[in-house]
Structure formats: structure tokens, C-alpha cells
């Protein structure tokens, strides 16, 4: 009797094991396909983006602009690129959202509610240029893996928030603080809750700048969900991955932050230049800080045909990471001669600058208008691709548009 019961139990046990496998597969496999509320198939509607924006990836969502879409002086949401490393958090509760500051180099751990951040500290508003470190990756040869951004992973919106340095001063920071790292509510692609999709940061010098914000408004409204609602770190002029979205924690570290995508080869370039395709050891890769000088012709759209004798008015933006752009030029003869553009001062430090020019063409034919910015240290954009690097970052080669005079 006992033996029979034992056999029966053993049978049930192994059946259960099989059913167990079924249940695990049954519930986890569709999960992979399960569209979250946010992973709905129409990203343009879902994120309120213009239909001319280009979807590079839908899991995670990565969407870029085209040059002519970036013509506004201040980038509206509908033309702002989306770069996600993980899945957009769901069910955000703004009322109960908190930011916890901790780490080896805080004098005490402290948690703020969003309301406390807004009421306790002075609010500031800046126009801040955010460019993805991998903007322009698609041009590298040999190619680098990852999202193949062309030119549209850049924006300059108005950000409102409190200074990170004011909040850190309230918490109390030890003298040995070296770096901060952010923590956020987004979900790792594997859905493993113990993995962070991305947790990057910045050295204290960048953290202490007056333009480095804990922002809760973009262009005067709540930050759109895809751009970090309800709280985003914004560090203009640096790879946009430093500007963590949906943040709920900041670690003040006594060493360089070692969160996800801080180590290995992520957001790093070879410390010393390498030949195209060369292998680079992890320890020979250095963290990208300020982005390089760059510009975009946002008007007209490439492909304009105009009548002989008519002048072409061009305009666009130029930016140089931490620096200001001091000179803007264009060429219609592949760099044989360069002419100056009118260049405006930035609205504030780390905002992109606007340029314009009126171009006369000597005769009928095919032209390319090339634009070249030079920063305040005399460094200009290259016409060819800049130094090859394994992950395809920092392509600041001159932008150009095709023109026909008929």
C-alpha cells in the first residue's frame, strides 16, 4: 500500500514537473511577445512623434529625427529622438515618486519626494543640448554594432528643474566623493529585476555645474514619458546617456561609478587612437565626457532644386559639448573654399547655437553644401569620418546636403 502510494506520488511529482515546465514556458514565452501598454505597435501615436521620425528599434524603443525635422530653435517633443536601453517603466505614480541619495560618499542617506524637490530648492531653466554618444554610428567602417544612428540623435530642448549640486549640498557630501551614478525605474530587456538596463553618471566637476539639473519639466510641461517622466538627470553637452531618465536614486561614489554601461567598452573610446578595425582591450578604453564640435543643416531639406540665379538660404544649429562654437562655415566645392555663416551666441551655456547663410551658385549643376563648425579651442569638424573606434561613438563629420541648380 505504502509502496503504491509512493509510486503514485512519484508519478504525480514527475507529471507535476512536466506541467511545471509547461506552466513556466506557457507564461514566460508569451511574455517575450507580450506588448506592454507602451510597446504598442504605433510608436508615433504612443510617443506623440512626427511620422517622419525613423524607428531604428522597437524593443527597446529607439527613434531618431532627420536633419530637416530639427529646424526648430528649441526641439519640440515630436522631433526629439528616443534612445532607450531597457523597457519604459509602467504605472508611474508621480505622487509617490521618490529620489534616494546614498552611496559611500554621502554623510547620510536621504530620500526626497518629488514635491519636496520642487518646493525645497530653487528651480532653474536652461536650453540643453543632448546628443547620443552613438549619433552617426552608421557611417563607421568597419561597422560598429548597436543602433545605427545616422544624424538625428540630437536635441536641444528647454529643461526645468533643480540643481543637483543644491540637492547634494542638502544631503551632505564627503570630501572623497569622485563620481555620481544614477538609478532608474526602467526594466532590463531580460526582465530580470536584479539587472539595471543602464546606470551611468558623471564626475563631481560635471555634477557641480550650475546647468546640471534634476529636471521635471521639458519645454515647460511635464517631461514626456519616453524622455524620463517624472524625473530626469540632465547633463548637457555630454553623451545623453549621462542624463538618466526615470531616476529614483543617486549614488555618490568614492570611485568612478561602476553601474551598467559604465564599464567595459560602453560609452568609451580608445584612450589612444587605433587603426580601423583594431582590437582594443577593455582597460585601454576611456569614458567619453564632453561631446565634440558638430553642426547640422536643418534647412533646406537635402535634395532641393532651385532656379539658376536664385540664392539659397541655409540655416541650422552648431554645438560643441562643454565648449562654445566660435566659427561656422560652409563650402559648395567639397572644402576647396569655405565661407562664413552668421552664428548666434548660445541662449545659455550648453545650448546649441543657430547659424544661417545665403549662398550664390556660380553655374547650373549638382552641388553639395557642407557645413563646418569650429569650437572655441580652434578644433573643427572633419570632412571625413573621425577616428574609428570599436563601438562607433563620436562621429562629428561635417553634415552635407545635395542641391541642384537648374
Amino acid at each position: 500500500m505504502k509502496r503504491r502510494k509512493f509510486v503514485k506520488n512519484a508519478m504525480l511529482g514527475s507529471m507535476g514537473a512536466i506541467i511545471g515546465t509547461e506552466i513556466v514556458f506557457g507564461s514566460s514565452m508569451p511574455d517575450g511577445y507580450k506588448p506592454l501598454a507602451l510597446q504598442d505597435p504605433d510608436p508615433f501615436k504612443m510617443f506623440d512623434k512626427d511620422r517622419d521620425m525613423v524607428v531604428l528599434n522597437d524593443k527597446p524603443w529607439n527613434i531618431e529625427a532627420q536633419a530637416h525635422l530639427l529646424d526648430d530653435k528649441i526641439t519640440p517633443n515630436k522631433y526629439m529622438f528616443i534612445r532607450n536601453n531597457g523597457l519604459i517603466p509602467e504605472d508611474i505614480d508621480e505622487k509617490n515618486w521618490t529620489l534616494t541619495i546614498e552611496g559611500e560618499s554621502v554623510k547620510q542617506k536621504k530620500t526626497f519626494t518629488l514635491a519636496e524637490l520642487k518646493s525645497k530648492f530653487t528651480q532653474h531653466t536652461y536650453q540643453l543640448t543632448l546628443e547620443c554618444g552613438g549619433n552617426g554610428r552608421s557611417e563607421f567602417d568597419p561597422p560598429a554594432k548597436g543602433n545605427q544612428w545616422t544624424i538625428g540623435a540630437v536635441s536641444c530642448a528647454t529643461w526645468t528643474g533643480v540643481r543637483l549640486r543644491d540637492v547634494l549640498a542638502d544631503v551632505g557630501i564627503k570630501d572623497d566623493a569622485v563620481y555620481i551614478g544614477y538609478h532608474a525605474a526602467d526594466v532590463h530587456l531580460s526582465r530580470n529585476p536584479s539587472k539595471e538596463p543602464i546606470s551611468r553618471g558623471a564626475p563631481m566637476a560635471k555634477v557641480m555645474q550650475e546647468e546640471t539639473l534634476l529636471a521635471f519639466k521639458m519645454n515647460g510641461k511635464d517631461i514626456p514619458l519616453a524622455h524620463g517622466y517624472p524625473l530626469r538627470l540632465v547633463a548637457g553637452g555630454w553623451p545623453a546617456s549621462v542624463s538618466g531618465k526615470w531616476i529614483n536614486g543617486i549614488s555618490v561614489r568614492n570611485k568612478v561609478h561602476d553601474g551598467a554601461k559604465m564599464t567595459g567598452t560602453a560609452y568609451r573610446v580608445p584612450c589612444n587612437p587605433v587603426a580601423p578595425g583594431e582590437k582594443v582591450k577593455d582597460e585601454d578604453m576611456c569614458i567619453i565626457e564632453s561631446m565634440p564640435v558638430k553642426s547640422l543643416i536643418t534647412y533646406p531639406k537635402s535634395g532641393a532644386v532651385l532656379k539658376e540665379g536664385k540664392k539659397l538660404n541655409i540655416r541650422g544649429h552648431a554645438w560643441a559639448g562643454e565648449l562654445e562654437v566660435s566659427k561656422m562655415e560652409y563650402s559648395i566645392d567639397f572644402g576647396s573654399t569655405w565661407k562664413s555663416c552668421t552664428l548666434n551666441k548660445p541662449a545659455n551655456r550648453l545650448a546649441w547655437q543657430h547659424f544661417s547663410a545665403s549662398i550664390a551658385f556660380p553655374k547650373k549643376g549638382y552641388y553639395e553644401v557642407w557645413a563646418r563648425a569650429t569650437d572655441e579651442q580652434g578644433i573643427a569638424q572633419p570632412m571625413l569620418l573621425p577616428g574609428w573606434n570599436p563601438k562607433g561613438y563620436l562621429n562629428n563629420a561635417c553634415h552635407r546636403i545635395a542641391i541642384k541648380v537648374s
Binding site: 522597437d58 531639406k301 535634395g303 563629420a397
Partner: protein
């Protein structure tokens, strides 16, 4: 008498037990065979009813009949956008669970770098051991998404010409 009765009883019991084991074994084998044919157990999937977004999604996208689900048109696997070729389904089944197929189709790499990418995903992104599928997947990727030479700067291409009105 008692003894032989007991023995007969025991034999009956053992044979009954043996037939139970046989039947259960048969069921298990049947399930395993089914699992081989339909590894995702798609026939058992119920339509989630609570979440409207899922329903909308299924209405728009996945309401394809069984044979339409992996439909191929002009050499493209419609559901993922991947190029039709040997190893396509291995790629679909192993490479589009965590990330979009777009992350595959927009990239161009040689064998060594596709393998390195798989290793990176295994080390950091919870990708499973691909077993003998790895070779099939890598061969598919190298054949269909090989490196394209671009040089130091490409020509402007696909220019959409238009009359400029000013």
C-alpha cells in the same frame, strides 16, 4: 492457501501498478512529442482579456492564422523583417525574444564579430546557451547581413529631389 492467495494478490497489484506506470509513461511521451512539434505551446495560449492594449495589439498585428504567422513575402519574413534563408527560424526563435529583430537587420558584421556579440549577450544580457543552433544562427547572419564597405565617407544616396519654393 493463504500464501498463494497473497502471492496472486501481489502479482495482480504489481501488474496493475505496471499498467499505471505504462499509461502515465505513454502520456508523458505524448506530451514530449507534442512539445517538440509546438515548443511554444501555442495551442494552449489563451487570449488575455484583462488588458485592452494586448487585445488591440492582437487585433492589429498578431491576428494571423497559423500559416500566416511565419509568412514570407518577397524573401522577407513579414513578422520580423528578417531575410528568408537557412536558419531563419532559429534566428527568429532565439534572437527576437529580448530585443527587436530590427537590432539584427540594421547591423552588418563578420563571423567573428557576430560571435562576439552573442558572447556579450550571454555574459551580460542573460542570453541562453544556443547549443548547435549557434552555428546555424551565425551562418545565417554572416550570409544575410555581411559587412558592407563604406570607406572614409560615402556618397549621398537616395536623394529625394524636390523644387524649392521660397
Amino acid at each position: 492457501m493463504d500464501n498463494s492467495e497473497n502471492i496472486r494478490k501481489a502479482i495482480r497489484e504489481v501488474s496493475r501498478l505496471m499498467s499505471v506506470i505504462l499509461v502515465v509513461f505513454g502520456i508523458m511521451i505524448g506530451m514530449l512529442v507534442y512539445f517538440m512539434v509546438d515548443p511554444t505551446l501555442s495551442a494552449f495560449k489563451s487570449v488575455p482579456s484583462a488588458d485592452e492594449d494586448i487585445l488591440v495589439y492582437q487585433d492589429n498585428e498578431v491576428q494571423l492564422s497559423e500559416e500566416d504567422f511565419d509568412k514570407i513575402e518577397n524573401g522577407i519574413h513579414i513578422r520580423t523583417g528578417l531575410i528568408e534563408g537557412e536558419g531563419l527560424m532559429e534566428v527568429v526563435n532565439n534572437c527576437t525574444n529580448c530585443h527587436s529583430a530590427k537590432l539584427v537587420t540594421q547591423n552588418r558584421m563578420n563571423k567573428e564579430r557576430w560571435v562576439a556579440t552573442i558572447r556579450w549577450m550571454q555574459e551580460t544580457q542573460n542570453l541562453w546557451d544556443l547549443g548547435k543552433n549557434e552555428e546555424i544562427i551565425v551562418n545565417y547572419l554572416v550570409a544575410n547581413y555581411p559587412v558592407k564597405k563604406k570607406g572614409r565617407r560615402e556618397l549621398l544616396s537616395n536623394i529625394d529631389w524636390y523644387e524649392l519654393q521660397e
